[in-house]
Symmetry: C2
Subunit: 288 residues, 2 copies
């Protein structure tokens, strides 16, 4: 059981947890959903992009005939703030095994006009309906046991790890010491970030929380010695299997920083050593 | 100079080539473009997904204030056929350094109703406006010299390499013998495909032709011993730099085939050893 979760008398369950409550959307009319974006998933003042993707993914799961995001691509347009938002969805195509949908998240300006924050295209299916065949050459990341990794609560004097924020209280995030150099003023120079990941209340992972997981680690840019903010331009996630219960292992790699942009490739592995999600994002580096 | 191009008295130029003519869109009204999809970019009877992406990318380049696709995500809905099509674009956001647009390609059913084939979300910018900094750990693929690789014209008795088709006449595609086992009935079992790539008329690469390049090789599934069709569900391309003149090297890798789906990760390198494009697609495997 995740260390952070052991503090809870009772582990939260899928459907009844902080994450589920904070991603809950209310159907205003067919295809249109209201939500109050929680301040609990912010880093500094920015609402986490993975949390926002999970909100959009949940609205699409309700709007489409299929329940699981097989591939979802998000383009981030303007910075979201905690507070009221509306998600407008469109069913682009409803097929037998796959359906495709579009969703946009809007917030409101001073005059109450809608401002688009994110636009998403996604194809959904039913993970439980897939054949069991697995032929993979992918290997789980080499990461030390969870009790040898470091989270916000482990830092000296209980001071949070630099870069952590409100979202840190809701995550069980234990970073591989091998990718923690940035937090100690000695970035490795390698574009790598690895961690054990779970939700702090012990809720197990599902396809929706995988959308949060791929964007929940500190940016690889920190290990490249960059300190600025790294806003996501576009993030695409492939959910490849329903995750088994227990903590996830996440490895993020950046190979090419050029022209002020970099890619972040994330792999998410479950406790059964199954590659459950792959993602890639294009992010912008504010140098200095 | 690419071998295939040397046959031409004069090399085609960017803006005046087969590829440019076959991706040319005609503005019907602001944001709406007509095109006659060429039969010259088909594999068996299917219009190549990269060619279609280039058509959509070209329409967006005209509709948006920026000219280069930095990141473009396409969801393939129904199979396109050669012939008339219309591209409808929407400017989602016009920013200073990036603009985001959406585009859909439609064709017509028997009753003349529009049927959507592909929907795309993309963020465009200006590659020439980016700073020159490059910090990469990515290395060009290990691939034999072009004259030691094999194309359709090199196969015994001039018989085309299995799987090649009309598009083969328009490409300078030379496959690494190390990933050609499938064509000889001895697939390697590794999800890898590598090739030298160019356009047959010698036209140099540009950001638009990179959208074609990432989807132009035989599917890695062939080297995994699968023989069926591998339709693309979603394809995302990041164009990272304007390619230098000369042939490209493309390496495609599949690490995870599971539940009847696989990912294809492509890297495209130019003659200056610059990583100019990265792509990932989720494709469906029709087993058997």
């Amino acid at each position: 059981m995740p260390e952070a979760a052991s503090a809870h008398a009772l582990r939260a369950r899928i459907g009844d947890s902080e994450f589920d409550r904070d991603t809950a959307v209310t159907r205003r009319e067919p295809g249109v959903y209201d939500i109050d974006l929680s301040a609990g998933w912010t880093i500094i003042n920015a609402v986490n992009g993975g949390y926002l993707l999970a909100v959009l993914g949940r609205a699409l799961a309700d709007a489409l005939p299929h329940c699981d995001p097989f591939t979802i691509s998000a383009h981030y347009l303007t910075a979201s703030r905690p507070g009221p938002a509306v998600v407008r969805t469109e069913t682009v195509r409803a097929g037998r095994t796959l359906s495709t949908g579009q969703a946009s998240l809007f917030q409101y300006d001073e005059e109450g006009h809608e401002v688009e924050r994110i636009r998403v295209l996604a194809s959904y299916g039913d993970l439980d309906g897939l054949p069991d065949d697995v032929r993979t050459t992918a290997l789980p990341p080499a990461i030390p046991p969870i009790d040898q990794c470091f989270g916000a609560s482990d830092s000296p004097d209980g001071a949070p790890v630099p870069g952590s924020s409100a979202i840190a209280d809701r995550l069980m995030l234990k970073l591989d010491p091998g990718t923690l150099g940035w937090a100690l003023g000695a970035p490795s120079g390698r574009g790598e970030m690895r961690a054990w990941f779970g939700l702090a209340d012990g809720r197990d992972a599902d396809p929706l929380s995988l959308l949060l997981a791929v964007d929940a680690l500190p940016p690889t840019a920190f290990e490249l010695g960059l300190t600025g903010w790294v806003p996501t331009v576009e993030l695409t996630v492939h959910v490849r299997a329903r995750p088994a219960p227990g903590p996830l292992r996440i490895a993020i790699t950046t190979r090419n920083l050029a022209g002020g942009f970099l890619e972040e490739d994330a792999e998410v592995w479950d406790s059964a050593d199954r590659l459950v999600a792959q993602s890639r994002q294009l992010a912008r580096v504010r140098l200095g």
